[in-house]
């Protein structure tokens, strides 16, 4: 079984990655700015909706319903899509999906493919597999294009080229696009990208996309986007391959009325994103004449099997939780070491890998609940985070020191006598460290707290000691 999520299995612990990112003032500034902009936009357009909570409720219930009957809806989708001229393939894991897709591209004798941004393809490392097979993938989302031409790595999930300013982008374009000259105004840079990619859109015969929604009763697929490269990729080439996670299914066409309202407002803070493309199978004389869907498992059935965490699959990939998260705001996406970052990444990434990797991600949260508040399908992320922490501990993967500390704490907190003894002991032990009621320093590596914060010293008389004394004195 080769289920993997990008390079997550080799990623450093969250704490380790976060340490250097928190110290990177440029990243912090950029992430703060980006998330603030989108948060404000989202708040405005969500504030306009008198029925926002009802839409969230329905979105949640529709997704939960699909999961309860996923086998039925998957088969229904396959039947409808096939009847309309599409071909449906099934991939148990990342390697199988890559093998199917490479095979389909090779069958066209194509050496190039154009791609619409799909995180699912990053999850399975599709580009690596394509290149290994001698096929060049061209990313067509502007940010991914900037990153690809700059031979760089994405620094942010929502705005992957955030770390590049206009001067750098201009230089990259000048070098890689064979242009004579180019200003650094954003409009001109976008125009240069338009010309560069247009040549590929009109020529390259195979495209690979993901999908936001796969509609079971009609067999239709829906791609939600802003730039227009999605429309180009799904309607111009001869052959279209759509890689779709099995959780993207919705029951009926009508259900789009919920998600097409909640997704754009949550993702980019717009009433509606510029373009939605919806198509079913193959249409004579219009668009790709060969359409393949690759339905992907890659650990999703594992998530499904955990009743308490199954909700994770309700996600419609809007990114609102990332923008709302106070932890993400300080570190950006790289700290999570996964294509899926932020709160949803913290619960999805380890689960797709059967909790064998990315075990520090469920702890990358203060459980503040802001994510749950903004989630358009009401995934109770804090609840799932706690559940996954439980799984990490049950699997024996908690750090040894922590296990010991929690055991000691249990002993103290389980009985008033133990608590009493611990209090008295603590009052003695703190003496060398407490000055004027404040502890500024604790020794022997206990300074995770006191390294940066003071700690109030234990009072000479605790509340309960005072209370007991008062009871005795007043004869109560």
């Amino acid at each position: 079984m080769s289920t993997y999520v990008g390079e997550a299995a080799d990623a450093p612990k969250f704490q380790t990655a976060a340490k250097s990112l928190v110290a990177d003032t440029q990243v912090r500034h950029n992430v703060r700015h980006a998330t603030e902009v989108i948060r404000a936009k989202r708040a405005k357009v969500v504030g306009e909706m008198a029925d926002w909570q009802e839409l969230r409720e329905s979105g949640h219930e529709i997704k939960e319903h699909v999961l309860r009957h996923l086998d039925f809806y998957l088969e229904q989708f396959e039947t409808a899509c096939t009847a309309a001229g599409g071909t449906v393939h099934w991939a148990r894991d990342a390697d199988e999906a890559n093998s199917i897709i490479v095979g389909l591209v090779k069958a066209q004798q194509a050496k190039e493919v154009i791609k619409v941004k799909t995180m699912t393809s990053d999850e399975i490392r599709l580009n690596v597999a394509l290149e290994a097979a001698g096929i060049t993938p061209y990313e067509t989302d502007l940010a991914d294009l900037i990153v690809q031409l700059g031979e760089d790595k994405p620094s942010h999930i929502v705005v992957p080229a955030l770390h590049r300013n206009r001067a750098e982008i201009r230089q990259i374009f000048l070098d890689k696009m064979n242009l004579g000259e180019l200003s650094d105004r954003p409009e001109d840079l976008a125009a240069a990208a338009r010309v560069y990619l247009r040549e590929k859109f009109l020529r390259v015969p195979v495209a690979i996309s993901g999908a936001n929604f796969a509609i079971a009763n009609t067999g239709s697929v829906c791609v939600v986007e802003s730039e227009g490269n999605g429309r180009m990729c799904v309607s111009l080439p001869k052959v279209l391959i759509s890689l779709i996670g099995i959780e993207k299914i919705i029951p009926t066409f009508q259900d789009l009325e919920v998600f097409l309202q909640t997704l754009p407002r949550s993702a980019t803070g717009e009433r509606m994103n510029p373009y939605n493309s919806i198509w079913t199978g193959v249409t004579p004389e219009d668009g790709p004449q060969e359409f393949h869907v690759v339905l992907l498992d890659n650990g999703r059935t594992k998530v499904l099997a955990d009743r308490e965490a199954r909700e994770t699959l309700d996600c419609i990939r809007c990114g609102a939780c990332l923008n709302a998260c106070p932890v993400y705001r300080q570190t950006g996406g790289h700290a999570y070491g996964s294509v899926y970052a932020g709160p949803i990444g913290a619960i999805l990434t380890p689960q797709l890998q059967s909790m064998e990797h990315s075990q520090t991600l469920p702890y990358a949260s203060s459980l503040c609940g802001a994510c749950y508040e903004v989630c358009p399908v009401k995934i109770n992320i804090p609840e799932i985070l706690i559940h996954l922490r439980h799984r990490v501990v049950e699997d024996g993967d908690a750090p040894w020191i922590e296990k010991m500390a929690m055991k000691a704490a249990s002993y103290v907190l389980e009985s008033p006598e133990h608590l009493d003894r611990a209090r008295k002991l603590g009052r003695i032990a703190q003496r060398p460290f407490a000055t004027n009621g404040v502890i500024s320093h604790l020794p022997f590596g206990l300074d995770a707290w006191t390294g940066v914060r003071d700690l109030p010293a234990m009072p000479d008389e605790s509340f309960r000691e005072w209370w007991v004394k008062r009871e005795r004195e007043t004869g109560r």
């Binding site: 106070p326 503040c368 508040e373 706690i386 439980h390 249990s410 940066v452």
Partner: protein, 224 residues
């Protein structure tokens, strides 16, 4: 403060902990005996007042599930029976006792930090602010980005200290920008974390629990 309002306060010294730290960190079996002890200690109490919204959230959000999982029908009943008698401190005052003016006097500028549990689990809304606005002499100042988490998060503060402190740094900046002399909250965990940084930085601003402000009576306003 409750006695000054004429109520009988009972404190049961056998109480220990609601089990939140263990539960939230993933040590679920360890939290069970703490829950059982809690239920036992508070058996028969008319109203259980908890000046900590995170503990109340633990009890409301997780005790029923924990009791269900334990398979102990008596425990399940006891939890169900106890829940309606649990009050967060401001809920007790505003909802049960119907007061927003407790006769307090505290002539200082105060910023209210709405802890995450009070905001998103208990939905305390404007109860804390109403109570502060009922305090004579008190100026309630606007806290920028009030709803942002302070970064405590229980064991998060230690397991992810760097991020915790980065979040705390933002919170401190907002508190200092607000012009407040005191930062108040209904959760001591946030206060310990925020107060710890204010103290370390010698920022000249201190923290107080809402109850400490509401109990202030004398003309110096310095009961804490």
């Amino acid at each position: 403060m409750l006695e000054k309002l004429g109520h009988t306060v009972e404190f049961r010294p056998a109480q220990t902990c609601c089990g939140q730290m263990h539960y939230n960190t993933g040590y679920h079996p360890a939290a069970l005996p703490m829950m059982e002890h809690f239920v036992e200690v508070f058996r028969g109490a008319e109203a259980i007042c908890i000046p900590s919204s995170s503990c109340v959230a633990m009890i409301r959000d997780h005790y029923p599930k924990m009791a269900d999982k334990s398979g102990d029908a008596a425990l399940r009943r006891a939890v169900k029976n106890m829940l309606p008698r649990i009050y967060e401190f401001t809920e007790l005052l505003v909802d049960k006792l119907g007061v927003t003016d407790v006769g307090a006097f505290f002539p200082h500028a105060v910023a209210l930090h709405p802890s995450c549990h009070s905001l998103r689990s208990l939905h305390l809304g404007d109860r804390p602010a109403k109570l502060l606005n009922g305090v004579r002499g008190l100026t309630l100042v606007d806290l920028p980005e009030a709803e942002e988490c302070c970064g405590f998060g229980g064991t998060f503060a230690v397991k992810n200290a760097d991020v915790s402190v980065a979040m705390l740094s933002d919170k401190i900046r907002c508190i200092l920008n607000s012009g407040a002399e005191v930062c108040a909250a209904v959760d001591n965990s946030c206060l310990m974390h925020i107060g710890g940084a204010l103290s370390r930085q010698r920022a000249g601003v201190r923290v107080l629990h809402l109850a400490e402000i509401l109990a202030s009576r004398d003309s110096r306003g310095m009961s804490a």
